[in-house]
Symmetry: C2
Subunit: 145 residues, 2 copies
């Protein structure tokens, strides 16, 4: 269960995983090949940080914090292929993401997930993430432009 | 009710607004002066996009999308001073944020807010933002590192 930081050469595998991710959850995907090309471009430009395991991937963005001189990390995607779930791969990717975010100088990390994705929520909560603000949940809003 | 893109010279006013924001909601703040210095630095480095009105502010981050060749926009902060609420200033800032995000090449925009902040949620929902994923709410999770 080796988790490592992806390089541009990993883009093809990452594109396939991200495509499978969106397909599984009924979200639109530009296709594995386009995703691979985009990931390769963004990895090369250092705009994206990706962790890969054999059958899983975590995608992180860093941005400078307003509230401190540190960075903030947004965990945009975390995916493990269905056949490999329940083996701790998601936890290994999440733990490695948190560790890498710290190493990169982040003092804060955030992510969004669906209320109904109980397995993901339980994973995040067990890793110290909270959706509570004064006892109430925080909602994540989005829209296309 | 003029909304305009902030320049580094606006940093002091922005720092004060962000400090008041966190103070009002019981969140920690490094203080108006430190915030102003950080905002000045990030505006000068083009790491941050801020819209200002007389008594309100919107803070946006842009990042390259994985799913398209466009950008994504994260609306990190939207604040109107208490005495000026109910006049449409929040809506003007939000509308201008959406417009600016589009102009800057974003095809997606997201934000987080508390379930109990009914006024903010109503504003976002009326502007086309949704917290629904297959009918269930999406939760926003965070942790310090």
């Amino acid at each position: 269960m080796t988790v490592r930081v992806a390089e541009p050469a990993d883009a093809e595998a990452i594109g396939r995983l991200l495509h499978d991710f969106n397909t599984e959850f009924g979200d639109p995907s530009p296709g594995a090949a386009k995703l691979a090309a985009r990931v390769r471009e963004l990895l090369a430009a250092d705009e994206l940080t990706v962790l890969v395991a054999d059958d899983g991937v975590a995608v992180m963005y860093f941005r400078p914090s307003l509230w401190s001189d540190a960075l903030e990390c947004y965990l945009a995607e975390l995916y493990v292929v269905p056949a490999r779930r329940g083996e701790g791969l998601g936890r290994a990717l999440l733990d490695a993401s948190v560790e890498l975010a710290r190493e990169n100088g982040a003092d804060y990390m955030c992510l969004a997930t669906s209320e109904t994705d109980v397995a993901a929520r339980s994973l995040y909560e067990s890793a110290g993430f909270s959706n509570r603000d004064d006892g109430s949940p925080m909602f994540f809003y989005e829209r296309e432009l």
